[in-house]
C-alpha cells in the first residue's frame, strides 16, 4: 500500500517542478506550494535542494520545527550542503540564538560564494551592532553578485541608522525591483531592535506602500504601533495581517492581548499613565504612581531633561501577557521592557513572592526612557542597560544587581566580553546566562566610570551618543582611553571586589551543602561556626538556602535573638527579598523594642509584595504607634484595597489613622463603614462616640 502511494506521488511529481512550487509560494498559494514541495521530496528523496526550499517555505509560514527537520534531513543527504546550514542559521536567529552565527560561518566555509549566506551574515553582524563587519559582509555579497538586493538593504540600513537620509542604496534596490518592500521591512526591523520605534514604524509603512501584500510588514507595523500605545491603528494592521493568513504567534498573541485590555483600568496624571489590571488596580496604584513620580523627579533633575509626553507604564499580572509584549525582541526582557515612553512590566502578583523587586524594575525601565529620549534612541544597548542597572543601586543599595553564581562562573572562566563587543552578549548570547552576565558587567562598567572619573561623565557620554555611533569614539572623547585600555583598567578595578568570592566559589558550594545539612540536623554550634565562614566567602548570596537565614535559625534555636537579628538585618541590607524572612526580622525587632526598625524592614516589602494584606496591616499598626499617621493611612488604605473579609477591622484601622492625622470627616466615614459591617464592634463604637463629642465641642 505504501509503495503504491509513493509511486502515485512520484508520478504526480513528474508533472511538478521546483519552479512551480516557487511560483505558487510567490503567489501566496501556500497550500499548493506545500503540496508541490511534498510531491517533489517524495519523488526525489535524495535531493537536498527540494528539502531546503520546502524548509524555507515552512520557516516563512511559522512552522519552525518542520523546517528545522527538513534542513537537518538535507544535511544527512549532503553533509556540506551550505543552503541547509543557512536554513538552520535562520531558524536559530528567530530566537537570537548564537548558533545562527556559527551555522552561517559554516555555510560560508562550505560555499564561500553563497550570496544569501553572506547577506545573512551581514544581518547578524548588524543585529550585534557590529556595523563595520556588517558593511564588509554586505560589500562581499555585492562583490559576488552586484544585484544582491538584501545586501543593499543592509547598506541602506547602515546609512539610515547613521542619519544619512539620502542613501544611494534605495534607488539601486528599486532599479532592480521597484516593488521590493522587503528592503524597507529589513530597515524597519533594525530600527525597531535599536529601539528607534517611530522611525521603524515609518519604514514599515514604506514597505507596505511598495508591497501592499507584505503581511509580515503589516503585522510588525501593528505590533510596534501597539508598543507605542496606538491601539486602534495597531489592531487594524494586525487584523489585516491575520485575516490574510499571517497568523504567527506574535500576531495572534498580540491580538489576544489587545482583547484582554478591557480587564485593565487606566489612571492618568499630568506626567504619568498607568495601566493596571482591574483586579489589583486599587492595591497597586498608590505605590506605582508614587514611584513613577519619584523616578521622574529624580531623572529629570539628573538628566536635565523634561519629557514632553507622559510616561506610560503597563503592569501585567499574567506573565504570558507581558511576554507577548517582548516577542521578537532580543535580550532578556524577563521583567520589564521599554518602548520609547511606554513601559510594559510584570506585576508583583505575577511572580513568586520574593523573586521580584517591582520598584527596581520600574526605575530600571524608566531610566531607559530618559537615556533613549536624550540620545534620540542612539544609545548602544550595553550603555543604556548599564546605566539602568547602575541607577537601581543608586536609589538604594539593596535594589541593584548582586554578584550571582552565573556571574562568578563567567568571571572565573574569563568570559566577560570586551567593552567594544559587549552588545553581542545581550543580543546573541553564546552561553546560558550570558545576558544576565552582560547586565551585571554593563552595570559595573557604569559604576567604574562613576568611581574613577565621575557620575557626570556618564551623562556626558549619554549626550555624546546623540551624534556619535561608536563606543570607541565616545570612550576616547570623554575618558581619553582606548577600548582595550578601558577593559584592562576595568578588570583591575573589578578584580579586588570579586576575587575572594570567585576563588572560593567551589569551596563555598561544598560548604553550603554542609551548612544546610547542619541546620537540618539541628547541629546549631556547627552551623554557627561554618555559617560565618560561608557567609564571608560570598557575602552577596541572599537567595534561598543562604547562610544568613541558616545563622539566624541557629542563633534563635540557641535563644540568641540579638545575633539572629544581626544576621537577618544583614540579609535585608544586602538585598534579601524573601517576605517571610523579612517579616521574621520585623517580628524580632518588635520584640526587641525597636518598632521603628521593624517598620523600616516591612517598608522594604512594599517594593516586593505590595499585594500582601498582612504586610500592610502590620506596617500600618507600627506606623500608627509611631504617630506616622500619613504612613498608616497609606498602609490601611492598602489593606482595604485588598477587599479583606474583615471589613469592620479594616475600616476601623483606616478611621483611627485618619483620626490621628486630624482628618475627622474621613475618620467618621471610615468608622461608620466599620460599624455598618459590624455594629457591635466596640473599639469603633468608642471612636464614633469620641468623634461625635469632638464635633459638638
Amino acid at each position: 500500500m505504501r509503495f503504491v502511494a509513493l509511486l502515485l506521488l512520484a508520478i504526480c511529481a513528474n508533472a511538478q517542478t521546483l519552479q512551480q512550487a516557487e511560483a505558487q509560494w510567490r503567489a501566496h498559494d501556500y497550500t499548493a506550494a506545500r503540496d508541490t514541495f511534498k510531491a517533489l521530496v517524495a519523488a526525489q528523496p535524495k535531493n537536498p535542494e527540494f528539502r531546503v526550499r520546502f524548509g524555507r517555505l515552512l520557516l516563512e509560514r511559522f512552522n519552525t520545527q518542520d523546517a528545522s527537520d527538513l534542513f537537518n534531513e538535507a544535511l544527512e543527504i549532503k553533509a556540506d550542503y551550505a543552503p541547509a546550514m543557512l536554513g538552520l542559521a535562520m531558524v536559530a536567529d528567530q530566537t537570537f540564538d548564537n548558533r545562527a552565527i556559527q551555522m552561517t560561518e559554516k555555510a560560508l566555509e562550505a560555499d564561500p560564494k553563497l550570496v544569501e549566506a553572506r547577506e545573512f551574515q551581514a544581518r547578524l553582524r548588524l543585529e550585534d551592532n557590529d556595523n563595520k563587519a556588517a558593511a564588509q559582509d554586505a560589500e562581499a555579497a555585492l562583490a559576488i553578485n552586484p544585484k544582491a538586493i538584501d545586501a543593499m538593504a543592509i547598506l541602506a540600513t547602515l546609512d539610515l541608522l547613521n542619519d544619512i537620509k539620502e542613501t544611494r542604496w534605495i534607488p539601486r534596490i528599486l532599479a532592480i525591483d521597484p516593488h521590493y518592500g522587503k528592503a524597507w521591512n529589513t530597515i524597519a526591523y533594525f530600527f525597531v531592535i535599536n529601539r528607534r520605534y517611530e522611525e521603524g514604524i515609518e519604514y514599515y509603512r514604506k514597505a507596505i506602500a511598495l508591497t501592499p501584500d507584505l503581511y509580515e510588514a503589516h503585522s510588525e507595523l501593528g505590533i510596534n504601533l501597539m508598543r507605542l500605545g496606538r491601539e486602534a491603528e495597531a489592531r487594524q494592521e494586525l487584523e489585516l495581517a491575520f485575516n490574510n493568513g499571517y497568523k504567527d504567534k506574535a500576531t495572534t498573541n498580540t491580538l489576544t492581548l489587545m482583547d484582554s485590555y478591557n480587564r485593565f483600568s487606566t489612571f492618568e496624571t499630568n506626567n504619568t499613565i498607568l495601566k493596571l489590571n482591574k483586579k489589583e488596580a486599587d492595591v497597586l496604584r498608590p505605590y506605582f504612581e508614587s514611584e513613577m513620580k519619584r523616578a521622574i523627579a529624580t531623572y529629570e533633575k539628573k538628566y536635565k531633561t523634561h519629557l514632553s509626553v507622559p510616561i506610560q507604564v503597563e503592569v501585567y499580572p499574567d506573565h504570558e501577557d507581558f511576554a507577548v509584549r517582548t516577542m521578537g525582541m532580543p535580550g532578556l526582557g524577563a521583567l520589564g521592557v521599554t518602548f520609547g515612553t511606554v513601559i510594559a512590566m510584570d506585576s508583583p502578583t505575577g511572580r513568586h513572592p520574593g523573586e521580584f523587586h517591582w520598584a527596581s524594575t520600574l526605575w530600571h525601565e524608566m531610566s531607559h526612557v530618559y537615556t533613549l529620549t536624550i540620545t534620540n534612541h542612539r544609545i548602544p544597548r550595553w550603555f543604556t542597560e548599564g546605566i539602568a542597572v547602575h541607577e537601581e543601586t543608586a536609589i538604594d543599595a539593596d535594589w541593584g544587581d548582586r554578584l550571582s553564581p552565573p556571574v562568578i562562573t563567567a568571571i572565573r572562566d574569563k568570559k566577560l566580553l570586551p567593552i567594544a563587543q559587549i552588545d553581542r552578549g545581550f543580543i546573541h548570547p553564546s552561553y546560558p546566562n550570558q545576558v544576565i552576565v552582560s547586565y551585571y558587567q554593563a552595570g559595573k562598567i557604569c559604576d567604574f566610570i562613576s568611581a574613577k572619573w565621575s557620575e557626570s561623565k556618564i551623562l556626558d557620554m549619554v549626550h555624546d551618543f546623540t551624534t556619535m555611533d561608536s563606543t570607541e569614539a565616545v570612550l576616547k572623547k570623554e575618558l581619553n582611553i582606548s577600548p582595550e585600555d578601558f577593559d584592562k583598567q576595568f578588570m583591575a578595578w573589578l578584580d579586588p571586589q570579586v576575587r575572594k568570592t570567585v576563588d572560593s566559589f567551589k569551596e563555598w558550594t561544598g560548604k553550603m551543602t554542609t551548612l544546610n545539612g547542619y541546620v537540618k540536623a539541628k547541629k546549631w554550634d556547627e552551623a554557627i561556626e561554618l555559617g560565618g565562614q560561608v557567609r564571608d566567602m560570598f557575602p552577596e548570596y541572599v537567595e534561598p538556602a543562604n547562610p544568613y537565614v541558616a545563622l539566624s535559625t541557629a542563633y534563635l534555636a540557641k535563644g540568641d535573638k540579638p545575633k539572629a537579628i544581626e544576621q537577618l538585618a544583614a540579609y535585608s541590607r544586602i538585598g534579601g527579598r524573601d517576605p517571610d524572612t523579612i517579616k521574621q526580622l520585623a517580628t524580632l525587632l518588635e520584640e526587641a523594642g525597636k518598632p521603628k526598625e521593624a517598620a523600616a524592614a516591612l517598608e522594604r516589602l512594599n517594593f516586593i509584595v505590595p499585594q500582601d494584606p498582612d504586610l500592610h496591616k502590620r506596617l500600618g499598626a507600627l506606623l500608627i504607634a509611631q504617630s506616622d499617621y500619613n504612613g498608616a493611612i497609606r498602609e490601611f488604605a492598602a489593606v482595604l484595597a485588598t477587599k479583606p473579609l474583615d471589613q469592620a477591622g479594616a475600616h476601623y484601622d483606616l478611621g483611627r489613622a485618619y483620626f490621628g492625622a486630624g482628618k475627622k470627616a474621613e475618620a467618621l466615614d471610615q468608622i461608620e463603614a466599620s460599624l455598618e459591617a459590624a455594629p457591635n464592634f466596640k473599639p469603633a463604637q468608642k471612636l464614633l462616640l469620641k468623634l461625635s463629642t469632638d464635633s459638638k465641642n
Binding site: 496591616k617 473579609l645 474583615d646 459591617a677 455594629p679 462616640l689
Partner: protein
C-alpha cells in the same frame, strides 16, 4: 437575597452564642492522623496541639479531647466518640476536627496508625451523639469524598477538598488553625469565630496560597450549610458573662432592638437615597454605641 441571609445569620449567631455559652457544653474531638513521614507527622501533631491550646485558652463549658501520633488510633477515636455520645445532651454542641491524610477509592478513609477509619464508620459513631448541633471539619486530602457519608440534617460539614479525587496533601488545616486564633476572622465582631467565619478565612487563605505559589490548586474547600455554619460558634475570643441586673437587661433589650433596626435599614439600602441612608445609619449607630457604653459601665 444576600442581605436577608446575612440578617438571619446574625440573629441566629447571637442566639446560638447565648444558648451554647450559658446552657450547653461543647465537646471537641481533634484527631491528627498518620503523617507517613516525619515532616507531615510533626506538622499534623503541631496543628492539633495548637488547636487544643486555642480551644482551652478562654475556658467555658467545654470538653476537649485531642489525639495525635501513636494515640490517634481507630480504637481511641471510636472510644472518644462513644464517650461523647454517652455524655452529650441534645442542647450541647459537638465538633470533630480531622487533620492528616485521607484516601478515596469509592469509599473515604481517614489514615490512622493501624487500621484506618472510614467515612461510614465515622458517620455511625456521630449519629449516636445526641447533640443536635454538630460540626465536622475534615481537613485531610480526599476529604471531599466523606461529604456524602457524613451528611446529616443537624450537622455542618467542612472539607478541605471538593471531592475524593483531590488526593494531594492539603494546606487548609494550617489556615483553619490560623482562623481560630486571628481576631480578624471574627467578621461580625461578636467575640466569637463561627464555623462560617473560620471557613471563609481559611478558604481565602488556601486560595491565596496556591495563587502566590503559582501552583494549580489541588484542594477546593467545601462547606455544607452556610446558615447553620454562621450560627455555630467554634471558638470564643472573649468570655461571656450572664447579666442579672434588670437595668442592664433593659439596656441589652434596647441594644438588640437597635441592632435589629440597623439590619432592617441595611436591607433597605439599595432602595434609599444615599444621603438618607447615611443619616439614618449614623443616628442608629451612635445610639447603639451610647447604649453599649451604658451597658459596659
Amino acid at each position: 437575597m444576600g442581605c436577608r441571609l446575612k440578617l438571619l445569620n446574625r440573629s441566629l449567631t447571637v442566639a446560638a452564642l447565648f444558648a451554647s455559652s450559658l446552657q450547653a457544653t461543647t465537646f471537641y474531638v481533634t484527631v491528627a492522623g498518620l503523617g507517613g513521614e516525619p515532616d507531615y507527622e510533626q506538622r499534623f501533631a503541631s496543628y492539633a496541639t495548637d488547636m487544643e491550646k486555642i480551644l482551652t485558652e478562654k475556658g467555658g463549658d467545654i470538653r476537649v479531647e485531642t489525639f495525635k501520633g501513636p494515640t490517634a488510633t481507630k480504637a481511641n477515636v471510636t472510644a472518644a466518640l462513644t464517650r461523647v455520645a454517652l455524655a452529650a445532651k441534645p442542647q450541647d454542641a459537638f465538633v470533630l476536627m480531622l487533620i492528616g491524610h485521607g484516601s478515596y477509592d469509592g469509599e473515604y478513609k481517614f489514615n490512622l496508625p493501624g487500621p484506618d477509619i472510614s467515612g461510614a464508620e465515622l458517620a455511625t459513631l456521630l449519629n449516636k451523639i445526641p447533640a443536635t448541633r454538630q460540626l465536622v471539619v475534615n481537613m485531610t486530602s480526599a476529604s471531599g469524598g466523606s461529604l456524602d457519608a457524613l451528611k446529616s440534617a443537624n450537622r455542618v460539614i467542612i472539607t478541605a477538598t471538593k471531592t475524593g479525587t483531590e488526593k494531594n496533601a492539603t494546606v487548609f488545616a494550617r489556615f483553619w488553625v490560623e482562623a481560630l486564633r486571628d481576631p480578624s476572622a471574627d467578621i461580625d465582631k461578636n467575640g466569637s469565630i463561627s464555623a462560617l467565619e473560620a471557613f471563609q478565612f481559611a478558604d481565602r487563605k488556601t486560595k491565596a496560597f496556591y495563587e502566590e505559589q503559582k501552583r494549580i490548586a489541588t484542594e477546593h474547600p467545601q462547606l455544607q450549610d452556610n446558615n447553620k455554619a454562621g450560627a455555630f460558634p467554634v471558638v470564643r475570643l472573649t468570655a461571656a458573662t450572664a447579666v442579672t441586673d434588670p437595668a442592664k437587661q433593659a439596656l441589652q433589650a434596647k441594644r438588640d432592638e437597635l441592632e435589629s433596626q440597623i439590619d432592617q435599614l441595611k436591607y433597605q439600602k439599595a432602595l434609599m437615597p444615599p444621603d438618607q441612608y447615611k443619616s439614618q445609619l449614623t443616628k442608629l449607630l451612635l445610639e447603639l454605641a451610647k447604649t453599649q457604653e451604658e451597658i459596659d459601665k
